[in-house]
């Protein structure tokens, strides 16, 4: 078998496994798999309006996944992406609150982007510092900081930033249209957001695959004990990687506020941080498959929304398929490793 074909064959194998598993599950609950898949497909790619919703999910999911990839390259499990995204959203909201009634809304949107990335980066850096100076594993700090972030956003929504009159779970007062990320007629997604996500993918492609920094980052991830001999400080690279990771998550959070919800809501991260972990694992920690897998996952998320209405089926089917994908992928990758070991 040609080595080039291998990923394609693996991918096909994974999809077949997922198809079999999900179909069996649907049959078990007396539902037609064909119909369910049809709804998923029509619900995500059936019209431009639906597809633009898919893109709305694709943007933050891709950003979070790319961010995670930086951390993984340096050997770090940045579980804190969720919290970093929330902090980004908080930063953006704070700036946009300041820009209410201003004559230069674009300037404030730009500032919101910067603030979101900065806050996300700082939140991640906190986890990084705790790791390198405190010796606390980043999974624990990340998880802990996620809870703190959720607490913070709830406090803001029900406290200082509560809607005039009554605070509610539906979030803060929506921003006026000038402070929305610019979009086109009939688009539910901002072309700027798509452009930003694509830019991040391209930049990362260069930075991680082509640049010296990418090679050094990978070396740190592969063997942090040896890199000092090459004159590199593993601590510095780990901090840079997790900071970049947080900045991208913060960017995703900013876009959620300014491009999707136009206000701060309690579930502003929509779980994309954790979903991003699945995307990166399914991509086998490689860069190029990430945007495509993110698109697939986004389509599942959006497509499943109409399942309850049309088929009285819970929309968690998308989660089932996503989870099955990752488990099948881990299975296939594991088998490949075994195969390489034996004749």
């Amino acid at each position: 078998m040609k080595p080039v074909l291998r990923p394609a064959i693996d991918g096909l194998l994974i999809l077949v496994l997922v198809f079999l598993f999900t179909s069996a599950l649907l049959l078990l609950v007396d539902t037609s798999p064909v119909e369910a898949y049809g709804h998923l497909l029509r619900g995500s790619f059936g019209s431009w309006s639906k597809f633009s919703r898919v893109l709305n999910v694709w943007v933050p999911l891709t950003l979070c996944s790319m961010g995670l990839l930086y951390a993984f390259r340096a050997g770090l499990w940045n579980i804190g992406v969720e919290g970093q995204m929330v902090l980004g959203a908080i930063g953006a909201t704070a700036v946009l609150n300041g820009g209410l009634g201003s004559d230069t809304p674009l300037l404030w949107l730009g500032l919101a982007l910067l603030a979101g990335m900065l806050l996300g980066a700082l939140w991640a850096l906190l986890a990084g510092w705790l790791k390198v100076w405190g010796g606390v594993h980043e999974i624990f700090t990340g998880l802990g900081l996620n809870f703190v972030a959720v607490g913070l956003v709830l406090w803001l929504i029900f406290g200082p930033w509560k809607r005039p009159g009554i605070a509610s779970m539906s979030g803060t007062q929506p921003f006026p249209r000038e402070l929305w990320f610019p979009t086109l007629e009939g688009w539910r997604v901002s072309p700027f957001a798509i452009g930003l996500a694509l830019l991040v993918v391209l930049l990362s492609l260069w930075l991680l695959q082509r640049s010296r920094f990418g090679l050094e980052l990978k070396a740190v991830g592969q063997n942090p004990r040896a890199v000092p001999l090459y004159g590199l400080s593993p601590v510095r690279y780990m901090l840079i990687a997790i900071t970049l990771s947080g900045a991208l998550a913060g960017l995703a959070g900013t876009l959620q506020v300014s491009g999707v919800y136009h206000r701060l809501i309690p579930a502003i991260s929509s779980g994309y941080g954790y979903l991003g972990l699945l995307v990166v694992m399914l991509a086998n920690f490689r860069l190029l498959p990430i945007p495509f897998i993110a698109l697939f996952f986004a389509a599942l998320n959006v497509g499943s929304i109409q399942l309850p209405m049309m088929m009285q089926l819970d929309s968690s089917l998308s989660g089932v398929i996503q989870g099955a994908c990752v488990l099948s992928a881990l299975l296939v990758f594991g088998l490949r490793r075994l195969q390489r070991r034996s004749p």
């Binding site: 090679l215 063997n223 001999l229 090459y230 070991r341």
Partner: protein, 487 residues
Amino acid sequence: MQIELRQISKRFGRFEALKGIDLTVASGTIHGIVGENGAGKSTLMKILTGYLGRSAGHILLDGREVACDSPASAAREGIGMLYQEPQDFPPLTVLDNFIVGRDGPGDANRARQRRRLRELADRVHFHLDPDAPLQQLTVGERQQLEFLRLLGREARVLILDEPTTGISDRQKGLLFEALRRIRDDGRTILLVSHKLEDVEALCDRVTVLRQGRVSGEESAPFHLPRLLQLMFEAPEGTAPPAAVPTRSRRHRPGEPILRFDRVSAPGERTGLHHCSLTIHRGEVVGLAGLSGSGQGLFLRLAAALIDAREGEVRFHGRRLGSDDHRAFRRSGGSFLPADRLEEGLIPGFTIQDHFALADGIPARRARQRARQAIERFDIRGRPDTPAEALSGGNQQRLLLSLIPEQADLILLENPSRGLDVASAEWVWGHLRGQYAQRGAIVFSSAELDEILAIADRVLVFHEGRVVRDLSGDAIDYHQVAAAMTGH
């Protein structure tokens, strides 16, 4: 049990480590496997014990084809391996280590196992206290225990990898006697070694590997020049390894390069205490001592990889701060750790990647540099061979090739660990030729002979202190050996 290997091949990516090995080992014999570093000995043994899968070929035991595709299946077939480093559990006692991993009926019966351990030990004249914690044992005694464990498991094929490294002469004698005894019981023994004297003393037959192929087989009594020829005879067109320049003994030290001033640091087994000394240009300094007596700490302090608790280290007159290995490298220092794959190389990175990383150059130039280094340092691999697929000797050559040419302080920890004689000679020829005039070389070694042959100044470490500093004609085997053990 008779072992038959047929056309065993192993590829790592595009690198072919074994190219169709045919080997038959008769039942009840001691069979030697020799060859220089990178010849494929370790790979072949890892395949036989199921730790590595083979790319092609068959394994037959007593004429019956077996899979041997995992360590467990090889163990079920009665194949056991004695590793160079003991694979045991230091916090447990001798008896616990003997029992651990046995899950047959009655295997947990301590009284019975204690009896069994005693019987086995008596049969081969080993003396081990079943209740002693393993930490108190020497490497040689731990090896004896592993040997007994394998016997207790009814291993019918025993593979020994460099079993005489790091054990005393007395223990070596005991081991050899035990090996002959169990051979006479009908077990088959494979001995992998660099040391031809061990092979001569023990083996009935020897297979020589060279560059992944069988280059010849000989039966006892062995003709040494013939074995050496089979091991090392270079294929036509390659240059012979550079000769080792002999030690001058008349060393006239130049200006100071490295200065330790009352340096103390915790670590290793003993720490380092109040170390004051100066290393000069033109010196080749050997650090002698039992392993873990402070030599490793000394080297890492000098390389600014760790911090001194007290005192100061100056390199070219400049005080090195904490974690300042980068500055150390920039000022002309280089450090090569003993644990090459753990501390020196990046697993998953190719030879080419290592040059890109070390020199900060783009891929195309790194590829060119890698090609040059492979040729100049005779590394058995290609620019895209991953570091972990190289043999120990070739990993060392790769590390050496990464040292900048203008370096003037080379620190080496056990530089010839795991290397055969020819490789070690090549390494020293290269180091002396390249750096001894321009700078200083400081190395530690587990082999006293190597230190005495190479160094023109010897620092003897004992319990974290430098107890002797000998130069030139004052270097004396007995004095060094005595100082190492605290006399």
